[in-house]
Amino acid sequence: MPVRVQREDFDVGAEIGALTRGATDVGAVASFVGLVRDTNDGSGVSEMTLEHYPGMTERALEEIVAQARGRWRVADLLVIHRYGRLLPGERIVLVVVTGAHRGEAFAACEFVMDYLKTRAPFWKKETTAAGSRWVEAREADDEAAARWDAQRPGG
């Protein structure tokens, strides 16, 4: 399964190992790990809760993975995204892309993250000294995703 939405943590090295084991035509593995930061918009964050839309989340991520496959020649893609209560320093998301060459693996990995940030139904609520608040969507994330729309497939 290229997409997993789960409450549990994941093991980055083990996931990369499983994806590349026996795949001796793979020369490049690009990956991304997102972590909970202890500050956001200038406030200290003591914990975070990730809400999601079960069912749609998996569907949206699978759609993003399919789009990445349509744009770049990649061997394998993996997306793991956690939900529930998370503390600063904890892992939130893992994206791994394997392929023959690094340029396409890097591009596909960044594309999946940019699209995930604007299209996968997750919402972060963070707890600060002033109480808890829903994280606002960032314009920079919309811009990062829009970059790909401006590029031709394969670009």
Partner: protein
């Protein structure tokens, strides 16, 4: 003719509801029309007003205001996503 409506995150908290079953009346045949009808409830429901930055999904796919509604659909309203 009825649909299931879901609310998530800040919107869910504001409405005090995670979802509801909703009977589709004649003429109420798009997501945009449904959003206007819900907004007309007033009070907290004005969080659904047109100017508010909300995302909509029909049967677990992102949808725009013109998306058609059919019997049995699952419709969701939620704030812009912030995962990753």
């Amino acid at each position: 003719m009825s649909i299931r409506i879901l609310y998530f995150a800040g919107l869910r908290e504001r409405l005090g509801a995670a979802g509801e079953d909703f009977a589709l009346s004649p003429g109420l045949d798009t997501v945009g029309a449904l959003r206007r009808r819900l907004c007309e409830r007033g009070g907290a429901w004005e969080a659904l007003a047109e100017g508010r930055s909300l995302r909509m999904a029909v049967n677990q796919r992102m949808a725009d205001a013109g998306a058609a509604l059919r019997d049995g659909d699952e419709v969701a309203f939620f704030p812009p996503v912030t995962g990753g």
